[in-house]
Symmetry: C2
Subunit: 263 residues, 2 copies
Amino acid sequence: MVRVVESNSVSGSSDVQLSLDSIRESLIRQEDTIVFSLIERAKFPLNKPSFEESRCLDSGNSSSLTEFFVREMETIQAKVGRYDNPEENPFFLDNIPHSVFPSHKYPQVLHPKASSVNINKRLWDIYFKELLPFFVKPGDHGNYASTAACDLACLQAISRRIHYGKFVAEVKFRDAPHDYEPAIRSKDTEALMKLLTFEKVEEMVKKRVEKKAETFGQEVKCVSGDESENYKVDPSLVSRIYGEWLIPLTKDVEVEYLLRRLD
Amino acid sequence: MVRVVESNSVSGSSDVQLSLDSIRESLIRQEDTIVFSLIERAKFPLNKPSFEESRCLDSGNSSSLTEFFVREMETIQAKVGRYDNPEENPFFLDNIPHSVFPSHKYPQVLHPKASSVNINKRLWDIYFKELLPFFVKPGDHGNYASTAACDLACLQAISRRIHYGKFVAEVKFRDAPHDYEPAIRSKDTEALMKLLTFEKVEEMVKKRVEKKAETFGQEVKCVSGDESENYKVDPSLVSRIYGEWLIPLTKDVEVEYLLRRLD
């Protein structure tokens, strides 16, 4: 066991044991953030033109408004040290600008190859092509600035969850290196996926996020018992978002990380 | 009655009647956003150095990390059209950069002087000096990039709520111009404040946001009835945040707006 960032406070400086329990606690807390961000995004319709290619009047370059926004935002966030944190992975930055403020030293508990595991390009495509149309209503109401801010919040929350797979894989590997080493050496992706899959746990996660969407997405009235069943995001969809995308993508990150674990 | 942005979807293009009901509906939905943002900020301790003056390594200028971050963020957000929306008011931009994408035409229902009503400087001071220490735990865990992002979310959600007072004042004025005109002409702030104050409504809002903080800030478990009473933000504090700051500041905006209403 090594000491690592306190996972519940999502990378603070106070260090605690790197354990499956602390990682699970962080993932559970991250569910709240993800459900909040989905509820907030669902205020707006799909607003497709915001993420379709458009000509930027400034540079003349073609980019979607949302891509322009996320690229610029990531640059600013890098300058305040966001990507010094091994939990954060950029969507677009190839060369991450240095922090312009004194930076925080995060404990390095992952294998040095960890930073090369980044599936955000895949997440970006999945998010706009599959996930977003799955949980927001169709339509275009023109308020793209607010929409892009909500999309950024969703993308970053989901990306953090998925790439947390690196920490999950690290602790699982350390707990039973002999179970993993043969499959890593033979690059047996299928065997690794099998070692990393616990269907009962996945079912529990899906059930819990459905309940969170019910709880956080209800209309709260002053009088108890007056709650309507009008959820801001359909809770069964949130469960499916986890089952069909978030959990599988997290496991893909775990496998990718493990394949580099003995380099 | 005039047509105005759909207040429930927070400034979309589909227009509905500007009525006290539609404005109230928007304010109620904004409560959820504010409570979510407070819960998210409360994950982290105060992290005072993030908003205290620090030397920016890049420019050599003194600024807090959070101020640097918010200034830069607002510039990017302006470039995607955030401040074309009369509901949004910047903290730092004196000259708002034009949108670099084709911009959305928001219906202009407020008096042209509305854009000069901006109490964000006061909100900034109150937020960091009073409000933040009031609801987050003390301490410094060093992860300032995430903290600043959460502070921005809180500040923008609260600023939107407070400056929504312009819409509230506009509709109240239109419903009963003769009640307001004498007080406006004599600049009688006290009389205006009295006309705008409905204690019963304020009590109901405070009660409702407390219930929202209980609902959204609880730990949701898989098994029903297993919920703990460990709230992520003390619900009574959220009620007091509304009672001591958000509601009075909204009314200050209403008064400031009305004082310019006959210009």
